[in-house]
């Protein structure tokens, strides 16, 4: 296996590491950088547990290779948490018990945040549609939809 040296920005820090060409982004984050907040669920792009931000866009960490991220910017749940940008959504998830085992949660939060970055209050159906690529076995989704809806309303109220 030939190693490739890559340089990228992860959660605001420049990272330079040697990786195999076959190493996925999520394995790189978890195993090389120790950022275990991104999770591995299915490794074929269906469950969404590995979702991270690549240049601000949510991508599947299991379908992205680390070498593809050369020169790019990656943000994981650890970075997004420390920035405070998700604080209201995280608090709403906590108070509504919109997570049980928590395994899907980091990716669910990043995906929901993407929807919430738009304007207006999305309908429950639109929230469900947006989250339909993120598998949660525990909650049945109802509380997650509640949490996202509540944040959308609060943010809309705050800006109106």
């Amino acid at each position: 296996m030939s190693a490739h040296e890559i340089t990228l920005t992860v959660n605001g820090e420049e990272v330079r590491e040697a990786v195999d060409a076959r190493t996925t982004l999520v394995d790189f984050l978890r195993e090389t950088l120790g950022l275990t907040g991104s999770h591995v669920g299915c490794e074929h792009g269906v469950c969404g547990a590995c979702s991270v931000r690549l240049d601000g866009v949510v991508v599947r960490g299991c379908l992205t290779l680390a070498v593809q991220c050369e020169g790019h910017t990656v943000e994981t749940i650890e970075g997004a948490s420390d920035s405070g940008a998700l604080a209201d959504l995280q608090e709403e998830f906590r108070t509504r018990n919109a997570l049980q085992c928590g395994y899907c949660t980091p990716a669910m939060l990043l995906t929901a945040a993407e929807l919430l970055a738009g304007s207006g209050v999305p309908s429950r159906a639109a929230i469900r549609e947006h989250l339909s690529g993120n598998y949660c076995r525990c909650t049945g989704y109802h509380a997650i939809v509640d949490a996202v809806e509540a944040v959308a309303r609060a943010r809309a109220g705050a800006t109106s």
Binding site: H39, V40, S81, N97, G102, R124, L131, S132, G140
Partner: protein, 797 residues
């Protein structure tokens, strides 16, 4: 002190600052929302190696030869180990329980020896520096197999012409149970109408988001084994690791931090996990195994896969006269250790007809071996099947009689004033609330309006259905579940509560947290019974070195059993602390109480002493306490239900959905649940358990199916082909409660973890049939109800 609560004079649950009945957020959630959990998949230890397994591509094959030279030479490889090598370190096991009379199985090894009995059984282990290198080397292992005939069809498994999978057992019958209560033949003869049909329940599986994971660390110097394990039952696993590796239990520590979903999947003994632990002992270093998704599909226990022939008798005025079922299930080549694979069929026999007081009931259940992945207990064991069969029959009978399904249920559900009573199968009910639950459900869903709306849209060619499913649920199991059958699975649980040096409380509990909220419930209970704000309680779970012996979290036992132990421990610590405070204040302990983290006068509530001050004096200035007085600031209590073998709960669900009769697609519109889990400690957590359970039940009803071909090959072992419920297809789920506490404990809490899964499939099936019945469709009695099943029922394909 056996009185309900002293010294305040208030009832136990009404103590000042009570957290019982309050939706307190779980203490561990902020951490999980920040990605700062610690799942076993995240664990990394110094010198840790990784194992990958070479698995049998055949469902039944003799292992002729294993060639490992090339794999051993591959980069990063530490060891390549066969079943025979590993059998020297880890003894085989047999999954039987003595109280399931006649249940038999064959010895199962950590890695297959001589023969592989299902597609996916591990045949060789490859240990390397990384998982990727282990998988590379695994591809270089060459195994010569001689294929053997595969037994895959449960219907023919017992035929003379069918090969016997384990010849030493004589036949392919794992277990059989029969039951004949009342006068079944006479009752059917006297019925005005008999409905008979066959229900088919597809095999499905748990699909935990975090796959099974284990990191085993044998320390040769300390002669101790530490296993980081995503399990629901750490003490059970401690016993099993010790037993099969030839160790004493005190040499084994099982640590369970965060677990990414369990649902009954992670409460069993898995061969590859045993192999990982044995490899650590063999190689004297930490070894990690995390199942990948394909491995999960072929090795995580499967469940259901029952064929139930069933009939019901009714009189023309709608009285149920008799139930009869014949259940057949295939459970793979081995009964799973140590809980066995006979329990689901046994539960079905126990539970059919459960909500109804019909004394005439005959049942037969047969469990057979086959060359497919093993089956065992998954969330709501047997309940979804028994409920769908019972409630499917009730709806079919109502339709045949031309009665409203609610009216037929009202006529037959056990009256709310009939308790205590029992079922025809011998279950004992302390107190249930079927009618109160039904009434509440009807009000919540506005049944009459919904029926009118259904008729209205039907006229426009929109076909909606309403389906009900009443159910009972087994919770708070006593030793009657496993202990009496010889399994070392604790039905009792313990809690230790101690005061720290600043007056906060640390509670060590034997129950575990896999997302249900056990930590929150334990914290609420301790905060209430001891008398501190919940922020002052820290709960420690999942460590056999540091928690009282207990069963863990399964079968809806954590709140009802672990909660009661914590309640009692909190009370005991309060008494101990008040003894110290009374000695300091020169007062009578009975005149004092602990409220809001302070010792107060019980009568007036006036604060006398902060808990921090009690702790300071007891820990740092015990010289100031009276001679001979010793402060005991730690208390342990245990609890197991004794009066009732199980705390039965009950409830009812309703599904409202729309069927597209051109495509066969089902759109779920609404779902309602009323359930009665006794004292509700945390309403939000109960609701969320119910909602999550409902969606798992909906998965079974509409989507999930492990599809095997006739050769025993799993055809859809990935998440693209095996469908799970996702957000877009799921409805909002309204949950209501009726509260009937058990008198077996002071808290009165029963379990709630399985109610959702128990009732949802039957409710959805009945709703689909309700939508299709006016179109002359054949009743659908199979799951999952795919579009193809719907179109076939309509005669369109």
């Amino acid at each position: 002190m056996n009185d309900r609560d002293q010294p305040t004079g208030l009832t136990a649950l009404d103590r000042p600052n009570s957290y019982i009945g309050r939706s307190v957020p779980r203490p561990n959630l902020a951490r999980l929302t920040q990605g700062r959990g610690q799942y076993v998949s995240d664990v990394s230890l110094p010198r840790m190696a990784h194992v990958a397994f070479v698995r049998s591509p055949h469902s039944h094959a003799r292992i002729q030869q294993i060639e490992t030279a090339a794999a051993k030479r591959a980069p990063g490889v530490i060891a390549v180990v066969s079943g025979e090598d590993l059998a020297k370190v880890c003894t085989p096991w047999v999954g039987v329980l003595t109280h399931l009379k006649g249940l038999k199985s064959a010895p199962q090894h950590a890695i297959a020896v001589e023969r592989a009995c299902w597609q996916g059984e591990a045949v060789v282990a490859v240990v390397a520096r990384t998982r990727a290198l282990a998988e590379d080397a695994a591809e270089l292992v060459e195994i010569e197999y001689q294929e053997l005939p595969a037994v895959t069809d449960a219907e023919t498994a017992l035929d003379k012409a069918t090969p016997v999978i384990h010849p030493e057992l004589g036949d392919n019958l794992t277990f059989e149970r029969t039951l004949d209560a009342g006068e079944v033949d006479k009752a059917f003869k006297e019925s005005d109408t008999v409905v008979e049909t066959t229900f088919l329940f597809g095999r499905h599986t748990g699909v935990t988001n975090e796959p099974r994971a284990v990191v085993a660390d044998w320390n040769e110097g300390a002669q101790r084994l530490t296993v980081h394990h995503g399990t629901q039952a750490p003490h059970m696993m401690q016993n099993i690791f010790a037993k099969h590796l030839g160790l004493a239990e005190h040499q084994v520590r099982v640590i369970t931090d965060d677990v990414g979903g369990s649902f009954g999947i992670k409460v069993h003994v898995y061969a590859d996990e045993m192999a990982t632990v044995a490899l650590s002992k063999l190689l004297r270093r930490p070894v990690k195994y995390v199942a990948d998704r394909i491995e999960s599909f072929v090795t995580d226990i499967h469940a259901r896969d029952h064929r139930v022939k069933a009939r019901i008798g009714v009189t023309k005025d709608g009285r149920i006269t008799a139930f009869e079922i014949d259940d057949l299930t295939g459970i793979g080549p081995y009964s799973v250790y140590p809980r066995t694979s006979g329990i689901e069929a046994n539960q079905i026999v126990n539970l059919v007809g459960g909500p109804y007081g019909c004394p005439n009931y005959r049942a037969r259940a047969r469990v057979v071996f086959q060359n497919k992945n093993v089956m065992c207990q998954y969330r709501a064991v047997g309940h979804p099947i028994a409920t769908a069969v019972t409630e499917g029959l009730v709806d079919l009978a109502a339709a045949k009689l031309g009665m409203d399904p609610v009216a037929l249920r009202r006529k037959n559900l056990i009256p709310d004033d009939a308790y205590p009573c029992g079922s025809a199968s011998g279950l004992k009910f302390e107190k249930l609330s079927h009618h109160a639950s039904l009434d509440k459900l009807i009000a919540m869903m506005d049944y009459e309006r919904l029926r009118k709306e259904q008729a209205g849209v039907r006229a426009r060619g929109v076909h909606r259905g309403i389906g009900f499913a009443a159910f009972i649920e087994v919770t708070n199991p006593s030793a009657a579940f496993y202990g009496v059958g010889g399994a070392r699975i604790s039905s009792q649980d313990g809690a230790t509560v101690r005061l720290d040096a600043q007056g906060a409380v640390i509670c060590h509990t034997g129950v575990t947290e896999q997302g249900q909220g056990a930590e929150a419930v334990i914290a609420q209970v301790v905060a209430t019974s001891f008398g501190v704000p919940i922020e002052r309680v820290r709960v420690i779970t999942g460590d056999t070195d540091n928690t009282p012996y207990g069963g863990g979290t399964w079968a809806s036992r954590a709140a009802g059993i672990g909660g009661e132990a914590a309640w009692q421990a909190g009370k005991a610590l309060r008494a101990n602390v008040l003894a110290v405070a009374a000695s300091i204040l020169q007062a009578e302990p009975k005149a004092l109480d602990i409220r809001n983290a302070a010792v107060v006068d019980a009568e007036t509530g006036r604060e006398r002493l902060g808990l921090d001050e009690v702790a300071r004096i007891a820990y740092f200035r015990p010289d100031t306490l009276p001679p001979g007085f010793q402060a005991e600031l730690m208390a342990t209590r245990h609890y197991v239900p004794r009066a009732w073998p199980f705390a039965f709960t009950n409830g009812i669900q309703a599904s409202h959905l729309e069927v597209d009769v051109d495509t066969g697609f089902v759109t779920l519109l609404d779902h309602w649940v009323v359930e009665d889990c006794g004292t509700v400690i945390n309403p939000q957590l109960v609701d969320e358990q119910v909602r999550g359970g409902v969606v798992q039940g909906i998965g079974a009803a509409l989507f999930e199916h492990c599809l095997y071909d006739a050769q025993g090959q799993l055809l859809n072992g990935n998440m693209a082909d095996y469908l799970v419920p996702m957000a877009a297809e799921m409805p909002d789920i309204q949950v209501g409660h009726v509260v009937t506490p058990t008198a077996d404990s002071e808290l009165g809490a029963k379990g709630a973890g399985e109610a959702g899964t128990a009732g949802a499939p039957g409710a959805v099936m009945n709703a689909v049939n309700d939508a299709l019945r006016p179109l002359g469709a054949a009743p659908i009695t199979q799951m999952p109800i795919t579009p193809g099943v719907v179109l076939a029922a309509l005669g369109k394909i």
